[in-house]
């Protein structure tokens, strides 16, 4: 190395073009990195710090060790929130993926008015969540909602009269999950549709010539073709769904009888309802831990996918 440098002094004296470009890119990224550090990384550490503190109303903070986690471990609400979060993740992710796949398949089948349908599909996705939520609050309203009007007055189902879909523990959580799937599936439909369109038609033709029926073509051509997209979609959906908060907060507030509480709503109520910042932070730390596990899985999957490519 030293010999080369002596023989070609200019090689070492002038920085390589690649190195320059890297430094330039780093300089461009630096402001964004600083902002991300301040608004995301720092609060995570602050949250972890607070979860080991005692934070009385307006009083002095003091080190509390693992007390907050011990309190949480004995708090039934934590288990309700955790269980509901898992149900939410499984149902919303599955519902979204399945519905978006079938809708994308329908759109890919050469249906008429495809562009218009795609435009309509995007409406739930582009609407701000509070706007969608207000609409659904009225759809589900027991006294004035259109759902009950159709069920009770049009279809004659008497038991639907006055039934508050988001106000009854038997139906509140399901109602919010349906709304969330309605909001999310259009985006994934577009992604899946794009993936479907990348599968060469010649593969289907070849499979057909080999005697493969529609089911065989689906399992041996369509699904393998969608696999890379599905993996990313499922993992991203898992992470985004884990952060469930706005739709639940706006539709049910976690109630009634805590039937729709998830980790996100519990953290909010512990913070701003009860002003127990320490317990809320502890719950946040637990959530961060779980999210980290999912993120590691996501990164590993990405590596595997990259290797396969």
């Amino acid at each position: 190395m030293a010999d080369i440098a002596q023989a070609h002094p200019t090689v070492q004296a002038r920085p390589s073009r690649v190195g320059q470009e890297t430094r330039f890119a780093q300089a461009l990224l630096a402001p964004a990195a600083v902002i991300v550090f301040i608004v995301m990384i720092l609060p995570i550490f602050a949250n972890i710090y607070i979860s080991f503190q005692s934070t009385p109303w307006g009083g002095e903070w003091s080190f509390a060790g693992t007390k907050n986690f011990e309190v949480l471990a004995n708090e039934p609400l934590l288990y309700i929130g955790f269980t509901n979060t898992l149900i939410w993740i499984v149902v919303v992710t599955t519902g979204t993926i399945v519905l978006s796949f079938f809708t994308a398949a329908l759109l890919d089948s050469g249906i008429k008015g495809k562009q218009f349908i795609v435009f309509l599909l995007l409406v739930p996705w582009v609407l701000p969540i509070p706007v969608s939520a207000v609409g659904w609050v009225w759809i589900y309203n027991g006294d004035f909602g259109i759902l009950n009007y159709v069920l009770a007055d049009v279809l004659g189902i008497e038991s639907a009269y006055g039934w508050a879909w988001t106000g009854h523990p038997d139906t509140a959580f399901t109602s919010v999950m349906i709304t969330e799937i309605w909001r999310k599936f259009p985006f994934y439909t577009i992604v899946t549709l794009a993936a479907l369109q990348t599968i060469p038609k010649t593969l289907y033709e070849a499979a057909e010539m080999d005697g493969a029926g529609p089911v065989a073509r689906f399992f041996h051509v369509t699904l393998p073709g969608l696999k890379p997209v599905f993996v990313i979609v499922i993992l991203l959906n898992l992470i985004w769904t884990f952060q469930a908060f706005p739709m639940i907060y706006l539709l049910t507030g976690g109630g009634p009888l805590n039937s729709s509480q998830v980790m996100g709503t519990l953290i909010y109520y512990l913070s701003f309802g009860s002003l127990k910042f320490d317990l809320a932070a502890a719950m946040g730390t637990v959530t961060i831990g779980l999210l980290l596990v999912i993120t590691v899985i996501y990164i590993q999957f990405q590596k595997i996918m990259a290797r396969q490519r």
């Binding site: 009385p56 307006g58 006294d143 004035f144 508050a164 106000g167 009854h168 309802g273 002003l275």
Partner: protein
């Protein structure tokens, strides 16, 4: 050269500004005032009063911040922790802020007020403050919980509107009489009472609970609700019973929150709801025709709450006291309360043009002045807001067919555990 000439030309101006502004800056005092959950009209009126005050008191400026209700106490708590508490803030809670060490005993300021002014204030909150936290705040707004009713529905059923305060038993009877099938289709169209079974069901619960002799806290702010299990159960049972006269029955009532019952009232589908003066302005938006038909019944089971202006440990107590004297003057206090939909916590404002001749305000003022009415526990109890959901859950559980005793035990245990944390 040009630059130097410009600099010389500007010197007299800079000098004049410096000479003129420095002494004035030294004299100026800026007071910070916070409120939480004030509606737009209330904020506008308070800003108006502040402007009038600043005009009359040059050198004192008030920096007013109106926080959203759900963030307010978190904001105050954080400010207390950081030592950034405003000079004055409006709230119903007293003990929690005293525990946080940010209140001041303002007994000396009360002593400087004209005795007739102090005597004109609603006495109930002052009495409670004196016995518990000391005189940390000054009256600002009064809230009386009573029953709002639809006059025409009473007339349609041929029911004479009671002139004396009604009891809980009478409310149940009236609810039954006012539940009827208007168009003979075999289904009731109008219901006597709009029951809230979800969020904020604790307001009606409290009315019954207090009437039965229940208490949340003692004067030291200790949670004593466990001593009133029977009253707790009675309140739950009463709510379950009156649900028979609410649209959709108990099951539908579970999902009905505050806004829902007001909407039903505006549609004339219920004849009575438990509410406060604010419902008047809400109805004007929802249905002006129904707003005109609305009246308030005097009840013997009402409860009152008060929000005061707390003057904390500020360096500018004298200036803050000037503002207190200014806003508590009858006309200004009436204007503030009128815009907030609350009741002026003074007993000498009946002749005010904004109050005189207003039958509903008169009823609410009488209700607020009722010495037998209970006070909202929020006045003392620190984490009241955090404990209320336990009541909402208990009410919902009973309306869904749960056992009132078990629901009460669960709620009391939850509240006791939360209070202890």
């Amino acid at each position: 050269m040009l630059k130097r000439r410009t600099m010389f030309a500007a010197l007299p101006l800079i000098g004049a500004l410096a000479l003129g502004s420095v002494p004035a800056m030294a004299d100026d005092v800026t007071l910070r005032l916070w409120s939480g959950g004030f509606n737009k009209e209330g904020q506008r009126t308070l800003r108006e009063v502040i402007s009038e005050f600043e005009a009359e008191n040059p050198g004192i400026e008030i920096e007013y911040t109106a926080w959203a209700w759900d963030k307010y106490r978190a904001q105050l708590s954080t400010a207390a922790t950081l030592g950034e508490v405003p000079d004055m803030w409006i709230d119903g809670l007293m003990m929690v802020w005293q525990d946080a060490g940010i209140t001041a005993d303002n007994a000396d300021l009360y002593a400087q007020m004209p005795p007739e002014t102090v005597a004109a204030f609603a006495q109930a909150p002052i009495d409670v403050m004196e016995k518990s936290t000391g005189l940390v705040s000054f009256p600002l707004m009064g809230i009386a919980w009573t029953i709002a009713y639809n006059k025409e529905l009473f007339a349609e059923r041929g029911i004479k509107v009671p002139t004396e305060p009604i009891s809980l038993e009478q409310l149940m009877e009236l609810s039954e009489e006012l539940t009827f099938d208007r168009n003979d289709d075999g289904r009731n169209d109008v219901y006597g009472y709009g029951l809230i079974g979800a969020r904020l069901s604790s307001h009606f619960f409290n009315m019954i609970f207090y009437k039965r002799g229940g208490e949340w806290v003692d004067l030291e702010g200790n949670l004593i609700i466990d001593q009133y299990r029977d009253q707790f159960i009675e309140a739950l049972v009463y709510m379950r019973d009156i649900a028979e006269f609410t649209p959709g029955g108990a099951t539908a009532a579970v999902g009905r929150a505050y806004e829902g019952t007001r909407a039903l009232f505006a549609q004339e589908r219920v004849a009575m709801i438990a509410d406060v003066g604010e419902v008047g302005s809400v109805l004007l938006d929802l249905s002006p025709a129904v707003a005109e038909k609305m009246g308030f019944l005097r009840v013997d089971f009402g409860f009152n709450s008060f929000d005061g202006l707390l003057v904390g440990k500020t360096e500018h107590r004298d200036e803050a006291f000037e503002f207190v004297k200014f806003y508590t003057e009858p006309d200004r206090l009436v204007r503030i309360n009128d815009s907030l939909g609350s009741i002026t916590p003074r007993n000498d404002v009946a002749d005010h043009p904004m109050i005189a001749g207003n039958e509903n305000l008169a009823t609410l003022a009488e209700q607020l002045a009722d010495p037998t009415a209970s006070l909202h526990p929020g006045l003392l109890l620190s984490p009241y807001g955090a404990l209320r959901p336990a009541i909402w859950d208990a009410v919902a559980e009973v309306l869904l067919g749960g056992d009132p005793g078990e629901a009460a035990d669960k709620a009391i245990a939850t509240m006791t555990a939360q209070f202890a944390q």
